[in-house]
Amino acid sequence: MIERTPVLNFFTHLAMLVGIILAALPIYIVFVASSHDFQTVNIVPMPLTPGYSLVENYTKVWTKSDFGTKFVNSFIVATGVTIGKIAIAAITAFSIVFFNYRLKMLFFWLIFVTLMLPLEVRIVPTYAVAANALSPIQGVLNGLFNAPALLLGLIGIEGLPQVALKLPEWNLLNSYTGLILPLVATATGTFLFRQFFLTVPAELVEASKMDGAGPIRFFWDVLLPLSKTNMAALATIMFVYAWNQYLWPLLVTTRPEMTTATMQLQKLVPGPLFGQPPVWNEAMAGTLIVMLPPLLVVIFMQGYFVRGLISADK
C-alpha cells in the first residue's frame, strides 16, 4: 500500500522511534555502566555518558570469570542442541509427511502435545534420567521380570524369588551429552518442517521415484537442500534458545569447568548476598559479552530467518 499522508508518516515514525528507544535504551545503559570504573558506576544517579574504563572492565571480567572456557562450553552446547534439533525435526517431519503408516496422526499429535511440556515442567524426572540414563530401562526390565511374581502374589501364591536387575550406571551429569540431549527434542521444529514438507509438490516425489531415488536419497538430495531457509530459521531460534538456557545447565553441571556462559552471569553479581557492594560495571560488561554471540547469529541469519518462516522461496 502506497499512501502519501504526512501526518500518518509522522506518527508511524514516532511510533517506530519510541519502539527503538524502548528496546535500545536498556542496552545503552548496560553499555554505559560497563564503561565506568567501580566508583563512578555506584554514584546515584549513574552518569549517562560512557566512561574510560571500558577495555579494563572487559578484560578483567573475561579473565576473572574464565569466560574462555565458558564460551567454549556454551558454543558446544548451543551448536549441539541446534544441530540435534534440526536433525531430529527434519527426520520426524519426513516420516510424518511422506510415509503412510497406522497411527501416524497419533504420533504427530503426541509430538505436538510436548509443546505444552517444556523442560521446566518435567525437570525432576529429566534430572533423574540424566543422573542415570539407563535407569528407565532398568525399571522397565525389572517390572517385566517381576510381573509374574507380582500377579501370583495377588492370587495368594507367594515366595517366588524377586529379581533386582542392576544395569551399569550411566551418568550424564557434568557432561556435554547431559547438557545437550534433554534439550534436543523439539515439537516446534517438527511442526515447522512438517508445514514446509507439505508444500513440496507431490510430482517432485514422483519424479525422484521415476529417477530411481529411494526415500533416503530423496530426503538427502532433494528435501534437505530445499529446506535450507527453513533450517536457517530453526537454527537461529534454537541457537538463541540453547545459548540462553539457564535452569538445566545449573542443575546438571556442578564442576566449574563445565558451566556455561549464561550461568556465569549470575555469579558476576555476588552483591549484598555476600556482604559486598555489587560490582555493576563488571557485571554489565559480562552481560554484553554473553549477549554478543546470539545477537551475531540473529544478525547474520535474519534474511534467511524471515524467508524460512514465511516459506517464500521455493
Binding site: 509438490p201 510430482e203 517432485l204 514422483e206 519424479a207 525422484s208 521415484k209 521415476m210 529417477d211 530411481g212 531415488a213 536419497r217 538430495d221 532433494v222 537442500p225 530445499l226 521455493k314
Partner: protein, 366 residues
C-alpha cells in the same frame, strides 16, 4: 521389445472405483494417446503403468513381465509430468543427469551423456541455469531430457503440453513426435486435447468414466466413432446429434422434420436412434431441404461456424469464410446420408453399417 499389456485393470480408492476393468495392448514402439475428459481415469491409468499408483486389480505387463509389484525404478519407464516437476535447486545439467547419478554412473560419463541429451533437446547453452531461469518451453525440454537420458523402454507423458501457450504447444508437439520417430520407444501420452491426440497418435484410446470407449487410429476414431460419447467428444466443432425416430427404413423423423437416412437403418414404428453428422460434412446450398437460422457466427479464419438450432437441438454448420453470413440469416443445407452416423440412444453404441448375416437390422425399440 517393450510392449505393454494391460489386462482387466481396475483402480479404486476405498469404495470408489475410478477405473473399471481396462484392457489395452500397446505394441512395441507404438505411440498411444489416451484421450478423455478430466476425471475419466486416464492419468490414473498412466500412473499405474509408471508404478506411482497401486493397481487394485488385474495386471500390467511391460515387455512380457508383470510389473504390479515392481518399484517405479525397476519398470524401465520414464515420465514427463504436467508441471515438469524439475528439481528447483538443481541446475539443468543436474536435473537431466540425476537418474544417472542415482544409478552410480561416473561423473565424466554422466556429463558426456548429459551433454549429448542436452544437445538433442536444444539446451546445450543452458546447462548451468536453474529451472526458475528458464521459460516454460525450455523447462519442458529439460523434463524430456531427463526422461530421455535413462534410455527407457517406455516413455510416459502426463499432459505435458497443457501448461504451455498455444504456439509453443504446437511446436513441442512436433518435437515430441520427432523424438519418438528418432528413438522409437513405446510411448503413452495422456491428454484431454483432441488435437494433440489426433496429431501425435499411432492409436488413440478414448476413455470416459473409467472405461475405454474406443481404441483406434485417429482416422478410425474420426470416421467411425463407436459410441455416442466418442462422437460427441472427438473433433472440434463437435458432431451435431439429433434425436430421431425411424418408423420406416430410410426415413428419420425429428419432430415434423423428415431426414432421409442410409438404407442400412431398418425402420420400426417408435424405434428411436441418435443421428450424428459432423458440421464439416453438411452441404450448404440454395437448394437445401433443411433450413437453420444463424444465431451467431464464429469466424475461424479459413472457415466459419454458424450456430443455430435445428429440430430442437443446438446445431452447427461449417461454411467457407468467403460466404457472407450474418446472425439472423437463414441458411439452407442438406444432410448427406453417407456422412451420417447412427447410435443406439439407450446403450450409446454405434449402429453398424455392415450387419452380421442373419441378424435383424433394427434400432432398439423405444
Amino acid at each position: 521389445m517393450a510392449d505393454i499389456a494391460i489386462s482387466n485393470v481396475t483402480k479404486s480408492y476405498g469404495k470408489t472405483a475410478v477405473i473399471h476393468g481396462v484392457d489395452l495392448a500397446i505394441r512395441d514402439g507404438e505411440f498411444v494417446v489416451i484421450l478423455g475428459p478430466s476425471g475419466c481415469g486416464k492419468s490414473t491409468l498412466l500412473r499405474m503403468i509408471a508404478g506411482l499408483e497401486e493397481i487394485s486389480g488385474g495386471t500390467i505387463a511391460i515387455a512380457g513381465e508383470a510389473v504390479n509389484e515392481k518399484e517405479p525404478r525397476e519398470r524401465g519407464c520414464a515420465m514427463v509430468f504436467q508441471n515438469y516437476a524439475l528439481y528447483p535447486h538443481f541446475s539443468v545439467a543436474e536435473n537431466i543427469g540425476y537418474a544417472l547419478k542415482v544409478a552410480g554412473v561416473a561423473k565424466a560419463e554422466r556429463m558426456r551423456r548429459v551433454r549429448e541429451v542436452a544437445k538433442s533437446v536444444g539446451l546445450e547453452e543452458y546447462l548451468d541455469r536453474k529451472p526458475s531461469q528458464l521459460s516454460g518451453g525450455q523447462r519442458q525440454r529439460v523434463a524430456m531430457g531427463r526422461a530421455m537420458i535413462r534410455e527407457p523402454k517406455v516413455f510416459l507423458f502426463d499432459e505435458p503440453l497443457s501448461n504451455l501457450d498455444a504456439k509453443l504447444r504446437v511446436q513441442m508437439r512436433l518435437e515430441i513426435r520427432k523424438l519418438h520417430q528418432r528413438l522409437g520407444a513405446t510411448s503413452v501420452f495422456v491428454t484431454h486435447d483432441q488435437v494433440e491426440a489426433m496429431t501425435l497418435a499411432d492409436r488413440i484410446v478414448v476413455m470416459n468414466a473409467g472405461k475405454i470407449e474406443q481404441i483406434g487410429t485417429p482416422s478410425e476414431i474420426y470416421d467411425r466413432p463407436e459410441t455416442l460419447f466418442v462422437a460427441g467428444f472427438i473433433s472440434s466443432p463437435p458432431m451435431n446429434l439429433l434425436e430421431v425416430t425411424i418408423p420406416v427404413r430410410g426415413e428419420a423423423h425429428a419432430g415434423d422434420i423428415v431426414i432421409s437416412t442410409p438404407a442400412f437403418l431398418a425402420g420400426k414404428p417408435g424405434a428411436a436412434a441418435m443421428i450424428g453428422v459432423r458440421p464439416e460434412h453438411l452441404e450448404i446450398s440454395a437448394q437445401g431441404r433443411f433450413s437453420l437460422q444463424a444465431e451467431f457466427v464464429e469466424k475461424l479464419g479459413s472457415v466459419q461456424l454458424v450456430h443455430g438450432s435445428f429440430a430442437g437441438r443446438d446445431f452447427i454448420l461449417q461454411c467457407p469464410a468467403t460466404q457472407p453470413v450474418a446472425a439472423g440469416q437463414r441458411l439452407l443445407f442438406d444432410i448427406p446420408a453417407a456422412a451420417m452416423h447412427a447410435f443406439d440412444p439407450a446403450t450409446g453404441a454405434r449402429i453398424p453399417k455392415v450387419q452380421p448375416a442373419g441378424r435383424q437390422n433394427e434400432p432398439v425399440a423405444a
